[in-house]
């Protein structure tokens, strides 16, 4: 069936099988491999993307359920070549090691900061509690998000309505 959605600000339309998972749609149809897959049971959060600004686990969302919605992936975090403060924070505070859970963690952090620009450590821990990281032990992720909170961009890229620089996969531009 045909579905259309906005991905990192770009309109995409595809004909897909109804059973295709959103994570596979993003990775394989759109070629945006920054979104990872880790468990299939909604436990690990490696596949988190933002749907209409809310974190969702894209392994348990059918692509057809995203029809008509806005999706933001890790490739859509940086705007015009400028890293999101969350991305900078993860580099500054060693919030990542193998990098596999990182895109999902950063998107959840972005959604948290969008609704709560100054979260305390407990709020950050709660926000990422649906996601698993095997490398960092979480403390540096908490610090990374705190770094981002302390260094907001003058212009919030989330409010940029998708002028995100994610169109490297040319398929994304419909």
């Amino acid at each position: 069936m045909q579905i259309s959605m906005k991905v990192n600000g770009n309109d995409v339309t595809r004909d897909i099988e109804p059973r295709v998972l959103l994570v596979h749609f993003i990775r394989e149809e759109l070629g945006l491999t920054g979104t990872h897959w880790g468990c299939d049971t909604t436990n690990c959060g490696t596949c988190v993307v933002l749907m209409d600004g809310q974190p969702v686990k894209s392994c348990t969302v059918l692509a057809v359920m995203a029809d008509g919605h806005e999706i933001r992936t890790v490739e859509g975090l940086a705007a015009d070549g400028t890293l999101d403060p969350v991305q900078q924070g993860f580099m500054e505070e060693h919030g990542l090691q193998c990098g596999f859970c990182t895109p999902g963690m950063m998107l959840t952090a972005r959604a948290l900061l969008d609704r709560n620009p100054h979260p305390d450590a407990a709020e950050i821990r709660e926000a990422i509690s649906g996601q698993i990281c095997r490398c960092t032990g979480y403390a540096t992720i908490v610090r990374s998000v705190q770094w981002a909170a302390a260094h907001p961009l003058a212009k919030d890229p989330a409010a940029d309505d998708g002028a995100a620089g994610a169109s490297t996969a040319e398929e994304v531009t419909a």
């Binding site: 099988e17 059973r19 295709v20 596979h24 990775r27 945006l32 491999t33 920054g34 979104t35 990872h36 897959w37 880790g38 468990c39 299939d40 049971t41 436990n43 690990c44 490696t46 992936t73 890790v74 490739e75 975090l77 940086a78 890293l83 991305q87 900078q88 993860f90 580099m91 500054e92 060693h94 990542l96 090691q97 193998c98 990098g99 596999f100 859970c101 990182t102 895109p103 950063m106 450590a121 950050i124 821990r125 709660e126 990422i128 509690s129 649906g130 996601q131 698993i132 990281c133 095997r134 490398c135 960092t136 032990g137 979480y138 403390a139 540096t140 992720i141 908490v142 610090r143 705190q146």
Partner: protein, 797 residues
């Protein structure tokens, strides 16, 4: 707020412990990862690539009666269905393991564990491949399984490995270390002896990225390019050449970005071999990526040791000897990934950090109808089990003697002047200074204050526990003469090229799974040559691009490959001296090195920087005989000994007396990994390992029912700590360099995974002291803690 205390280094360690190579710098690999531009296995897409999926056995033990693949083959998107019979024709149905056994690639005769590989489908896309699995009709004749390792040697136990000629029982090996008679004599004469069964249950590394491969066989020139989630690309290539008969120069193994390994990605799994066979059969690239259940149910598990521990001491608290008898459950195939001559890995370091008169251990390995593996999950080749055993036993002894567990440890440490220290099971500890680390951890914890708080809480009926653990690891295998994997000596190579403009590339044989090799190894070169880390590229993970070496596991990257990198940089530095001398028209012996340049002794203004020398090497200056026109070098480093990192950990827990729920309130970790390179990366390694420890101590277990059904086949059942279950880690360090390592570094990758479980369990048992609990096995789930409080502690298996 996150509270992390970084304490001043141990002043007794001589050199103030300055981190080398520019210290805390940001990681070079992070810019691609934070942009989603990492290149993990499943991100690889080759033209014409097909997808493979594995059909797995639904039962633990069964004769294979028949497989009907007709319907699957009729699926319009299916290109091939491969069974064990097909592999037999290629002589690939069985593959050698890393432990002198064989493992079925696909079942030919009998299923030996639930989740074992039965058939392989190759299809146009991953959904079709999965669909086709359901079209394969398999008939099984179910057999009684052996699930409890304690029953594996019963006279009436079914023989699991009837594929091995002459096999009449389930014994794999018996192995011993230490002097049994000497130990018995010490035990017989000791004032105090305590014993305890200590079980380290089966757990799983469960990296966030599961295992997978993309095989691309070119039938024209017979060349195989194999992308794999592997921690050891060179070892894999050699083994493929030995097993599959493809000449080694025609095999290229590429390990791309790896989404966590922890030992799960050392061995060669049937899925990798099947991807290769699929590519050979179809003439197209084939991708195979396992799902989470496949990862948890079929790939290398960890631990599964049932240990009978004994410890002997004087009544004053001088520990005299330790002894243990271990039953090791290796699953259906002996496929542990460890040095071949060490069937129980480095378990014999169970003498711990203490100066003992005697020690003896014996280990029996048995087959059961469970997945193979055993050496994984940041275990440093079974040091995890060894440290857990001795640190539980010391705590049990402390309770018996009514001594403080920290004081008992302080009383028995190997003293600094005893290093290098030969223990009773054949290890020579390179260096150590244990008391300052223990004292620092106690100071950071506010140990005496915590004990006072505990007493007050006990008066109120509240359960608070303080757990102490001190560990010594043995890592960095190893000297080639002692350690090999199927005959391959455990050395590592490094090649360094300084380009004409003074930028450099260093090629290494170890493979990062998140440890930050691209940063750390650049920093080692930076320290030795004065080239800034950002001007040094680190190449790893591609056998066509890097020198031979055995890979990353057992915390061996910095101890072995780090040594290789330091030495190759020194070789370049020495060569640079001769080139600089030619450029300066001076004698080499008249030159002196300062970071980044050679200059004329007594005339510091006259000299050449490494960049100038690099250009000179490639320029027109006449070079002395024997110095060729480049600034390149290569080495293979064979370490003279292992390294022995250590640490002192203190854990504070609160136990809910009503529910048995454990909250890890604080965790203080003081680590000594010798010379430090990037403190940020070191801290990250420690934090990750501590989280593993909370997982194993509180929630992680791969469990089975009596029929051999795996009860932990998804993340809904195999629980892993989230940010809610772990505290803000409090870390500190001392610095006691390794005397034999080129830069004095010892390795840090597994220290915290090794050291934290006993600290946590010791804390829980301490909390439960008012209930008379002296031991409980992991995982300390609320239900199991509550049972222990009711006087009914259960072993987990």
């Amino acid at each position: 707020m996150t509270t992390v205390q970084e304490h001043a280094p141990n002043p007794a360690a001589g050199d103030p412990g300055r981190p080398i190579g520019y210290g805390r710098i940001q990681r070079k690999e992070d810019p691609r990862f934070v942009r989603g531009k990492g290149n993990y296995l499943d991100d690889i897409v080759l033209p014409g690539m097909l997808h493979g999926a594995v059909l797995r056995a639904p039962v633990a033990h069964a004769r294979l009666v028949s497989i009907d693949t007709t319907a699957a083959l009729a699926h319009p998107k299916v290109l091939a269905v491969i069974t064990g019979k097909d592999l037999q024709a290629l002589n690939l149905a069985w593959a050698p393991t890393l432990s002198a056994d064989v493992q079925a690639v696909l079942v030919t005769d009998k299923v030996r564990f639930q989740g074992q590989e039965v058939a392989f489908v190759v299809a146009e896309d991953r959904y079709a491949a999965r669909d086709a699995l359901e079209l394969i009709d398999v008939e099984y004749d179910v057999l009684p399984p052996v699930i409890d390792a304690r029953r594996a040697m019963d006279a009436d136990a079914p023989v699991i490995r009837d594929d091995i000629e002459g096999r009449t029982d389930n014994r794999i090996f018996d192995w011993e270390m230490g002097d049994a008679a000497e130990t018995e004599a010490v035990f017989a004469a000791a004032d105090v002896v305590v014993s305890q069964e200590v079980v380290y249950p089966r757990v799983h590394p469960a990296p966030m990225e599961t295992c997978g491969a993309v095989a691309d066989f070119d039938p024209v020139d017979g060349r195989l390019t194999l992308y794999e989630t592997t921690q050891a690309p060179h070892a894999h290539r050699t083994l493929y050449a030995m097993v599959a008969g493809i000449p080694e120069h025609k095999i290229r193994v590429v390990s791309p970005d790896i989404g966590g390994g922890f030992g799960n990605k050392v061995g060669i799994y049937p899925g990798y071999v099947l991807a290769v066979v699929g590519s050979i059969v179809t003439g197209r690239p084939v991708k195979w990526v396992e799902d989470r259940s496949e990862n948890l149910m079929s790939t290398s598990f960890a631990r599964d040791y049932i240990m009978q521990g004994e410890i002997a001491a004087t009544k004053e608290g001088k520990i005299l000897a330790v002894r243990t008898s271990v039953l090791a459950d290796h699953g259906a195939f002996n496929a542990t990934a460890q040095p071949t001559k060490n069937p129980a890995g480095f378990f014999s370091i169970f003498t711990g950090s203490y100066d003992l008169k005697a020690a003896y251990c014996k280990v029996r390995g048995v087959y059961t109808n469970k997945a193979p593996g055993g050496v994984a999950y940041a275990c440093s080749f079974r040091v995890t089990e060894a440290v857990y055993l001795v640190e539980r036993m010391v705590d049990i002894l402390a309770r018996k003697l009514e001594m403080d567990p920290a004081e008992l440890r302080l009383k028995n440490f190997i003293r600094p002047e005893q290093f290098p220290y030969a223990n009773k099971t054949g290890w020579v500890y390179d260096s150590g200074n244990y008391e300052p680390a223990m004292r620092l951890s106690m100071q950071m914890a506010g140990y005496d204050e915590l004990r006072r708080e505990q007493l007050e809480k006990r008066d109120r009926g509240e359960l608070m526990g303080i757990g102490v653990a001190f560990f010594t690891e043995t890592v960095g295998a190893g000297p080639r003469k002692h350690f090999d994997i199927v005959g391959l000596g455990m050395a590592d190579g490094a090649e360094l090229r300084v380009h004409p403009t003074g930028k450099a590339v260093v090629r290494i044989s170890v493979q990062s799974q998140g440890q930050g090799h691209e940063t750390t190894f650049a920093q080692i070169v930076a320290e030795e040559l004065g080239i800034p880390p950002e001007s040094i590229d680190v190449v790893h993970g591609d056998t066509d691009q890097t020198p031979f070496g055995l890979g990353t596991y057992g915390s061996r990257s910095t101890p072995v490959s780090g040594g290789a990198v330091a030495l190759v940089a020194r070789k370049v530095r020495e060569k640079a001296k001769f080139i600089a001398a030619a450029m300066l028209e001076a004698r080499p012996e008249d030159l002196e090195w300062e970071k980044g340049r050679w200059f004329v002794k007594g005339d510091p203004g006259v000299g050449k920087t490494i960049a100038e020398i690099a250009l000179g090497a490639h320029g027109t200056v006449a070079l002395p005989e024997g110095i060729d026109g480049n600034l390149d070098a290569e080495v293979t480093y064979d370490p003279p000994n292992l390294t022995f990192p250590f640490g002192a950990y203190i854990c504070v827990v609160d136990v809910d007396a009503g529910t048995g729920a454990v909250k890890v309130r604080r965790f203080i970790a003081v680590d000594d990994c010798g010379t430090r390179i990037n403190p940020m990366i070191i801290e990250g390694q420690v934090h990750g390992g501590l989280t593993d420890g909370v997982g194993m101590a509180l929630m992680e277990i791969i469990a089975f029912d009596e029929d051999g059904n795996c009860l932990s086949g998804s993340f809904m059942d195999y629980l892993i700590p989230t940010a809610m279950e772990v505290p803000d880690w409090e870390t500190g360090y001392t610095v006691t360099p390794s005397p034999h390592h080129p830069i004095g570094a010892k390795g840090i990758g597994e220290s915290a995974t090794v050291g934290s479980p006993p600290a946590i369990v010791n804390a829980i048992v301490d909390a439960l002291a008012p209930y008379g609990v002296t031991h409980m096995d992991m995982p300390c789930t609320p239900a199991r803690v509550w049972e222990a409080m009711q006087g009914r502690p259960r072993p987990p298996v």
